[in-house]
């Protein structure tokens, strides 16, 4: 279900969805559409689609551990950027506490890149405990191309 919180353009939009991997494509489509509505550059759209997908996958596979549970994704404008909040009712887990992989190591670990990709694709990632149980993950990214990218 997609609901518009306000009828005005460039206001926050929310999608509420059951935590299932089969629903990831739907969430990516929501992120793409909302980013475009907010005036995001292609770079920003691609990055937020990636970041939200990785976060949703983590919540679905690790947070809820394959059991069903609700996930709510809210996107809206912030100064010069887009803010995404992902709310779940899964056991508390703070992805910001996970260390960065050593990409210069002689042993690559392709299976542990999700949180690294969220960090790489966003300007900030913060975690809060959700009142009543669960997590709120907030991702912020500037609307345009970032200076550190080529």
């Amino acid at each position: 279900m997609i609901k518009t919180v306000s009828a005005a353009a460039a206001e926050a939009r929310t999608i509420e969805i059951e935590a299932r991997l089969e629903r990831l494509a739907e969430v990516r489509a929501f992120v793409r559409a909302t980013c475009t509505e907010l005036g995001a550059a292609d770079d920003c759209v691609v990055d937020l689609v990636q970041a939200v997908d990785e976060a949703m996958t983590n919540i679905t596979t690790h947070g809820y551990g394959g059991a069903s549970g609700p996930i709510e994704v809210t996107m809206g404008p912030t100064v010069g950027g887009v803010r995404v909040q992902i709310r779940d009712r899964a056991p508390a887990f703070d992805p910001t506490s996970v260390g960065e992989p050593d990409l210069d190591s002689t042993r690559l670990r392709p299976g542990g890149m999700g949180i690294h990709l969220i960090r790489a694709a966003t300007d900030s990632m913060t975690h809060e405990h959700r009142p009543g149980g669960g997590n709120i993950l907030t991702l912020v990214r500037t609307l345009g191309r970032r200076e550190e990218e080529d």
Partner: protein, 137 residues
């Protein structure tokens, strides 16, 4: 968008596998399964055409890594064993990393960005088109 996997035998022990759509956590095991079937039928090298792939999730990286292992006759991770097994996967890149079992063709910018940000790009030769990849065997 779903993932379509199209397979063309390219002669010898090489297959061209074209991915169209989005490779994510809901479908990455189908690519691993396709790799198992190809290996069982004698394929030892895959040219992976990514021109039609618009999205690559981190789980898709596990599938790419699994293809290499399968073509080497090594056991890929069994997704049934859960994500703990997937997270503990390692790939030895002490010799530089680039390998010949899987070559990539025409990745879109979004897909290439994921390969670059995760350091996995150094595992692959990346070609502009299929014929260049096949000539490089």
């Amino acid at each position: 968008m779903a993932l379509d996997i199209t397979i063309d035998q390219a002669g010898g022990d090489t297959a061209v596998v074209a991915l169209t759509g989005e490779l994510d956590a809901s479908n990455f095991t189908t690519l691993i399964e396709a790799g198992r079937t190809l290996h069982a039928d004698g394929t030892r090298r895959i040219v992976l055409d990514l021109a039609g792939l618009s999205f690559l999730a981190s789980s898709g990286l596990v599938a790419l890594h699994s293809l290499i292992r399968i073509l080497r006759g090594e056991a890929p991770p069994d997704p049934e064993e859960g994500w703990g097994a997937i997270h503990s996967l390692e790939f030895d890149v002490s010799g530089g990393g680039v390998q010949n079992e899987v070559a990539l063709v025409a990745p879109q910018a979004a897909v290439e960005r994921v390969l670059e940000r995760t350091g996995l790009k150094r595992l692959f030769r990346v070609h502009e088109d299929r014929s260049a990849a096949l000539a490089d065997a």
